[in-house]
């Protein structure tokens, strides 16, 4: 399996995306004194900052982070809906990062990267029936004769567990779970290699969420797709993903095999995230001793022209020290086995001795 992963499907190297912010001077505004200087400083919002990762064939990579951390910008860069400021994206060894987002819809790479959007209800055209929604990408990207198209759409609907009699319905006539299925069927219609799932179950009830997650797992096995699974529900990420990346204010702060990251989080932010999930073993009134919770307070730092030397988490971090303001921590390997691919960008990660005791207590728990 690991050999298989070695040849990455998608290889993203030091991706950067910056947005210019601030008011543009109006037509009659007084021109700034340095208007003639081309290098006049402009405020930049660093939405994605030096992000490097790979996704192997058939692998599921989870992307976790709070709202505003740059998850969606990263997703839009990968799906080539936004132009990169800097960096390279390779799909199967071929560079696609330099292709302008505007004409990407016509490029031969478009069918290979597809996306399932967050809210299935909002992302479906209300005037398209389920059939038209699923057929649309096929007609645009891989045209088929009419009779074949019908067969193909029906096959896709069956694959996604959507009853064929629902194909003639409009989105408002479908339930949340059915709309999610249409969204998935539409995305896999052109047989992508990489499917990007942006919180596909966030709007669904738990009972439906399970079905959709199981469907995604099943489709991955059958079609050999790779997934980038974006979510802030860590329990869901853990279920589906082989590896996870934790993002904070535009940077990857921790990455590694899902089980390892969830069992031994090394970055204080990851630890706080995990600690914030409500747990069933903490049932109130059951007499279970309360587990001390790591809570982070305050608001994130501003992503506008951030200092390149200060750790982005500084100020909210319980472990923050002066060293954190002097040099930006970079990703480096951690864990009992460095080879496992678990790395963290922190000067003071949860230490190995901490995790050894944690591991011991875990073993005791099992025993």
């Amino acid at each position: 399996m690991s050999e298989f992963f070695k040849k990455p499907l998608l290889d993203a190297q030091s991706l950067h995306k910056q947005f210019t912010v601030g008011k543009k001077p109006g037509l009659f505004a007084k021109a700034p004194k340095d208007w003639f200087r081309a290098d006049r400083p402009v405020a930049k919002l660093h939405a994605v900052d030096d992000v490097t990762f790979t996704i192997g064939k058939g692998e599921v990579l989870g992307l976790v982070g709070e709202s505003g951390c740059g998850k969606s910008t990263l997703v839009r860069l990968l799906t080539r809906l936004l132009d990169l400021t800097d960096g390279s994206i390779r799909l199967d060894g071929e560079e696609i990062g330099h292709l302008p987002a505007k004409g990407f819809g016509k490029s031969p790479y478009r069918p290979r990267i597809q996306m399932v959007f967050q809210d299935a209800g909002d992302s479906l055209n209300p005037r398209f029936t389920a059939f038209a929604a699923i057929a649309d990408p096929i007609q645009r990207l891989k045209p088929l004769p009419r009779a074949d198209l019908k067969l193909r759409v029906e096959a896709l609907a069956t694959m996604c567990g959507l009853p064929l009699e629902l194909l003639g319905r409009f989105p408002h006539q479908l339930s949340g779970g059915q709309k999610a299925r249409v969204g998935i069927a539409r995305a896999i219609a052109v047989e992508p290699d990489l499917l990007i799932l942006d919180e596909p179950t966030a709007a669904l009830d738990v009972s439906v969420q399970v079905v959709i997650l199981q469907l995604l797992e099943d489709l991955k096995k059958r079609l050999g797709m790779s997934y980038l699974f974006v979510s802030h529900d860590l329990n869901v990420v853990r279920l589906l993903c082989d590896r996870v990346m934790v993002m904070y204010l535009g940077r990857i702060v921790e990455t590694g095999p899902a089980e390892e990251v969830f069992r031994n989080p090394a970055h204080p932010y990851t630890k706080a995230l995990l600690s914030a999930i409500p747990h069933f073993d903490q049932v109130k009134g059951s007499g279970a001793p309360p587990v001390p919770r790591l809570r982070i307070s305050g608001e994130p730092r501003s992503p506008i022209d951030p200092s390149p030397k200060v750790c982005r988490f500084y100020g909210r971090c319980p472990k923050g020290q002066d060293a954190c303001t002097e040099s930006m921590p970079l990703l480096h390997g951690v864990g009992l086995e460095h080879s496992a691919g678990h790395s963290v960008a922190c000067h003071f990660p949860v230490s190995d001795t901490d995790r050894k005791t944690a591991a011991v207590s875990l073993i005791e728990d099992v025993a």
């Binding site: 339930s175 969420q209 079905v211 802030h232 109130k284 007499g287």
Partner: protein, 323 residues
């Protein structure tokens, strides 16, 4: 815990008139919230959680009608009370945190003024004192730099901060009952934890009772004393939290617990709940609205729904064949 509950909902049924017919949104809903207690109502979307909250607050949609039952809040039947009385109670004695703070807040009024409005309406403060009290409230919900934030408009604040403003508004008059309708939906997990900690803490400080409406069983488990499980307008089970999770008795509760992702379970271990909520517009709804989805269905299930009281105080299951 006092003998008289803060809120006692008894045999409450609510119908909605729609073009498709009458929707029986709630039927014979009975539960109570004691002083200082945090009670959760959990269930899928469309199970009647929010309708229950809106009915109690007296802000039910005009198409809705209470067909029977009472809701007594500290001895006052809120379903019979006049609008003037309700206006006085709402915000002062019982208040509500809505699901989406950005929609619930007034977008063109500074948040400090919005808190002051509630205080001026109910709190016996002078016009001069009100802004100061508003800033105090902002400090209590731990908004950094409260003087500056009081002058901000909702769009200038993050989702978590807007939710804190909602909490500040809701708690400004120290209500006896707080109804929190999915207070953390759409927020990040870290923010969610902070908001829930805040509600629990402030609740404990003031001896306030909280009715938490959520679909997140994990959250209900962690923060609430008592859990009410709703399905298609019926309460199917009700029990103290520890008991509900240790021994779910209604098949639906068991399925709901089994479907929730937990830190230890694998994807294949999670079981979906088959079927959908029944169409509540139909003239003939089976007495047990879960029976069409139920694996433990028997012939007796076609008879009127039994409300079997459990051994523990406050536990009840509405099932002929409980687990």
């Amino acid at each position: 815990m006092s003998a008289v509950p803060v809120l006692a909902v008894d045999n409450l049924s609510v119908e909605f008139r729609t073009r498709g017919g009458i929707v029986k949104a709630l039927e014979q809903v009975t539960f109570s919230v004691n002083k200082g207690e945090m009670v959760a109502i959990v269930g899928e979307s469309g199970s009647g959680k929010s309708v229950t909250a809106f009915t109690v607050m007296g802000i039910l949609d005009a198409a809705g009608r209470v067909s029977q039952g009472t809701a007594s809040f500290g001895g006052l039947d809120v379903l019979q009370a006049s609008e003037a009385v309700m206006r006085d109670i709402r915000g002062r004695e019982m208040s509500m945190i809505f699901q989406n703070p950005r929609v619930a807040l007034n977008p063109i009024r500074r948040v400090g003024d919005q808190i002051a409005d509630v205080l001026l309406q109910h709190g016996n403060v002078t016009r001069r004192e009100a802004p100061k009290r508003a800033i105090e409230m902002l400090t209590r919900v731990r908004i950094p730099d409260p003087e500056r934030r009081a002058k901000a408009y909702p769009f200038e604040l993050s989702g978590g901060m807007c939710q804190r403003i909602m909490i500040a508004i809701a708690l400004s008059c120290a209500p006896k009952l707080l109804i929190a309708d999915e207070p953390t939906t759409g927020l990040d997990v870290t923010t969610q934890a902070a908001i829930m900690d805040l509600i629990a803490e402030l609740g404990a400080e003031q001896g306030m009772s909280t009715l938490l409406i959520t679909h997140d069983l994990g959250m209900a488990a962690e923060y609430c004393d008592q859990i009410v499980v709703m399905h298609a307008g019926h309460i199917v089970e009700m029990a103290p939290t520890a008991e509900l999770f240790a021994h779910p008795r209604h098949p639906y509760t068991a399925k709901l617990i089994a479907a929730t992702p937990k830190p230890t379970a694998r994807l294949m271990d999670l079981a979906a709940i088959p079927g959908n909520l029944p169409d509540l517009r139909a003239a003939e709804i089976p007495p047990c609205r879960y029976s069409a989805r139920c694996e433990r269905r028997q012939s007796r299930c076609d008879q009127a729904l039994p409300y079997v009281l459990g051994e523990q105080k406050g536990s009840m299951v509405a099932c002929w064949n409980p687990l």
